[in-house]
Amino acid sequence: MANVKISALPAATSVAAADVLPIVQSSTTKKATFTDVAGAVGGVRVYASAAARNSAITSPTEGMCVYLTDEDTLQIYTGSAWVAIGATKTVSGVSEGLVWISNTTIGSAVSSVTVSNCFSSTYDKYKIVWSVNSQSATANAEIYFNNGASQYFNSGFWQAPTSSTVTNYSTGATATSIGIWGVWQGGIAAAHGITEIHSPYLAERTYCVSHGSAPGYMWWSQTQLADTSQNTGFVFRPSTGTITGGTISVYGYRK
């Protein structure tokens, strides 16, 4: 059978499986030439929806490729299902899960890092992953939200990596409005941590669960911000002294 250029196919009529050039080759499918592939750039068949695709292609074969405009997805048929290739912000089943929002590089000898407008209605749950290259003093790692004026409750435990002793702590409602969620040891190597945040942007309590490690400490903690104000950003800082270098990354969990 002769090769068929996808770009040469009619745009709005039904298409048989034999008329669509498979992207994935097998011993039983047609061989693609350079011209076919080049033509496919503008010739991938476009459908308004999965329903329109299914109506037009009733018997797909493995390797078929289409584009759906309602989802903005490029899809390939695996032999048993249509699977989206790549990701867009609106693709169901492809980019669900953790979505990168921002990276902030910590400057030199800073006492605080402000990350603004990273929380929005797009996500309800967030993950902050941070690392600090060096610090000037032994300190707690702290985070507070831009509109969280008060009522932070903190508790958790920490442990030295060389000891089996676990030490509990609880701050109650902190007078300084600061969420304490970690400890690092000053002057030696780097520290890093992860905080999961629930509903910082919603008009309800904000909940955080954190864990992290530094050469001298490992910690696990939880923080509740009883203030129900909506927050759009946060400040990350040491409780004392300054920090230098490292990165604060923010991700959102797709709803």
């Binding site: 921002s102 030199s108 006492s111 605080s112 890092v113 402000t114 603004s116 950003g233």
Partner: protein, 50 residues
């Protein structure tokens, strides 16, 4: 204050990153920002206090 060199008081730096606009800078704090930082509970490390 954070440090006093005799001719000019200096403050710790601050990194500011606005995700919506892309604005990004690390600079020395202003005196007002430093006062607010102290009021919020942050403390300078012992060997840099006056």
């Amino acid at each position: 204050m954070f440090t006093d060199t005799g001719s000019k008081m200096s403050f710790p730096n601050v990194t500011i990153h606005d995700i919506s606009t892309g604005f990004y800078e690390t600079r020395e704090m202003t005196e007002e920002e430093y006062s607010a930082l102290l009021e919020s509970g942050w403390t300078p490390e012992a060997n840099t206090e006056e």
